[in-house]
Assembly symmetry: C2
Homo-oligomer: 111 residues x 2
Amino acid sequence: MPDDVYAACCPCRDMLDLLANKWSALALGALEDGPQRFGSLRSRLQGISPKVLTVTLRKLEEHGLVTRKVFAEVPLRVEYDLTPLGRDACAPLAHLRTWVESNIHRFPAAA
Amino acid sequence: MPDDVYAACCPCRDMLDLLANKWSALALGALEDGPQRFGSLRSRLQGISPKVLTVTLRKLEEHGLVTRKVFAEVPLRVEYDLTPLGRDACAPLAHLRTWVESNIHRFPAAA
DNA sequence: GGTGATGAGTTTCCATTGGGTACTGTTGGG
DNA sequence: CCCAACAGTACCCAATGGAAACTCATCACC
C-alpha cells in the first residue's frame, strides 16, 4: 500500500493538506449547488478576503478539483465549477462539516 | 440554524479549522488504535517535528478531543488518548483520509 | 562519580502562509 | 466625465510551519 497518508513521501500527504483546510472545505461545499461566480463565493464564505479566496480557488484549480471559466462580458464574469473529482471530494468534506455542526454543542468553551 | 460553518461568527468555524488540518486529522486517526505515547505518535506521523506535534496535541486537548496523562515514571511516560468526542470525530476524518488514499491516482501531477 | 541512554518535550531561528486593507483595470450607464 | 460593478492584485504585517539543537530528570553502567 504505497498510498498512505501517514507516509511523509506519499503525494497523498499533499492532497490531504489541500483538502483538510477550512477554506477548501467550505469552498468545495459552496460549489456543490452549481457553478458560482467569485463574488457569490465570497459572500457565501463569510469573512474570507478576496486574496485568500483567490489563492484557495487557484490551488483547487491547479489540482484538478475546480474549473475556472472566464466570460468576456462586461462587467467581467468568472465562473468556478467542480470537476468530477472535485464533486467526489465533496462527500467526505460534507460529512466533516455536518459532523462539526451537529456536535458543536459538545465542545467545551463553545456555545 | 445558528450552527452553520459558513457563518463567520459561529464557533463551528473554529472547530472546523481545528479538525480540517493535516496534522489533526492524522493525529486523531493514529489515536484510534488506542492510547499512544508522544514518541509513538511522532513516528507514526512521519515527518512531524516535535514542536508541531506538541502544539497539535495541546490544541486538541484544549478543545476536549484528546486527554494527556503523565505517568511519574523514569523515563517519563506521557499517554495521549481520545475522549468520547475525539473518538466520534474520527469517523468523518477517516472518511476523508481513505477518500484521499483511494482517489490519489485521479489527481493530476500526482503519482 | 562521570557518561550515556531514554522520553518528552523546549528554544531558537527562518521561511512560508494567512489575512486585512487598499488599489487596479475594463467598460457601460447617467 | 465620472461613477458603479466585477474580479481580482499589491502591499503589508502577524501568525504558523518546520528544521535543528538544546534541556531536564533519572537510572544503568563503567
